[in-house]
Symmetry: C2
Subunit: 283 residues, 2 copies
Amino acid sequence: MKTYTKIGKLKSALGEVRSKGRSVGFVPTMGFLHGGHLSLVKASLKNTDCTVVSLFVNPTQFGPQEDFDEYPRDFIRDSWLLEELGVDFLFSPDPDEMYPQDYKTYVEVKDLQDVLEGRSRPGHFRGVCTIVLKLFNIVCPDVAFFGQKDAQQAIILQRMVNDLNLGIQIEVLPTVREEDGLALSSRNVYLDPQQRQAALCLSKSLDEAGRMILGGERRAGSILDRMEKIIKGENLAKLDYIAIVDPVSLEPLAEIKQDALIALAVFIGKVRLIDNRMVSPKE
Amino acid sequence: MKTYTKIGKLKSALGEVRSKGRSVGFVPTMGFLHGGHLSLVKASLKNTDCTVVSLFVNPTQFGPQEDFDEYPRDFIRDSWLLEELGVDFLFSPDPDEMYPQDYKTYVEVKDLQDVLEGRSRPGHFRGVCTIVLKLFNIVCPDVAFFGQKDAQQAIILQRMVNDLNLGIQIEVLPTVREEDGLALSSRNVYLDPQQRQAALCLSKSLDEAGRMILGGERRAGSILDRMEKIIKGENLAKLDYIAIVDPVSLEPLAEIKQDALIALAVFIGKVRLIDNRMVSPKE
């Protein structure tokens, strides 16, 4: 595995790869890798000729009150994990390399960026879209891999790719979970044992929604009520939002007639966790 | 010359060009071509292997009160002119091809977009950046050509290209003028003979600024005063803005110590004209 910190050097290395007609797969990450990230890396290794992984904790997607400084980092472990898997290129730039002084350009996906996570985290998706577009322009991948755990992110990035005519294939892979159902997240490391247990309310409430739909329930209101009860039944949990939305427009659904996305965010102490599930009335 | 109206078809034609190792030059235009556009096309023909010209009157860069509907169009004449010059590909999409229903993605270059033209035309540069980024992603040019007449546009697009790591060379070519100094513009066609004469106040005031600087004047205030007097001396003219700014940051300069951009916009009747001049104390 070759590690690059400079845009120019990575670009020329990738130029050579491309000149040999080899396809490029890309997995952008903020590091502190877990099984979710690794499943994306494995998919890229399997489906493309050359896999690039970026490790970059992107300042522009954190709000001023958020956990940018405390976001967990472990470059040596991440690097070792990626090398073991057989990744070709690791890109790990300094913030100054990505956002030089007087940086001024930002990308927005209107409407989609303002709901769910975007309502709780103003400016978050503007930061995400901007850094991902920059990374796409640097790496020029044929395929880029994202996790279903960040469902809204994947939906917004797919829209950005279509709207800006980027011609990059976006692959969204299933959320990877612990045995007991907790979705893997770099932020899980913040949870103490009691909180770790409490955090199960997210996946439990989503499982319950799945069971209700399987049992014939189609009214979003009833499902959301039951889910809220599960979250509120957990003392250490505080609901941020919960919603059943159309998976393309992200507009709220009153009734589940076709595929729907159920998404929620819950604070466990100071730790903000998200989870989601795609459901279908045919389930 | 091959003409394309569909993104996919142009992309595959350009894929073949690129696979043969040929360089691609690109001239984005809104059509109704004049000598300014044609100088860009000639530069591309001379310096690259394959020249692509786009004709697209971009709705997102016009304000609701502006002249989108009345903007002059003459596809047949434009097409003929480009064919004569030896252009390889003409891209002339419908608005629906560029902005399908539910289009949501926009690019902004903060600060630079809010001054001069941006102050008079809110949203204008957001529209320009968005369409140019889309066209860049479709054409993937090695070099793109723009006119100095739209100085702020060139400065903003250069910043966008740098910030988004696009790796496209931006060439800015001198403003082409009529014999008497009037900068060529598609909007000149709106001017009646009296207005045509009055429109000379733009270039005259810029010439006077040049003379003052040559004579040793360095105070922006004195230069702007003299220019304003020239504009106000013309009955049919109404000054929109006039400014002497740093050509990178676009911040106003009090004194001309290094290269400076003098830019102005003037209404002649209902027709809004712009012009500018780069000046240097070493002139």
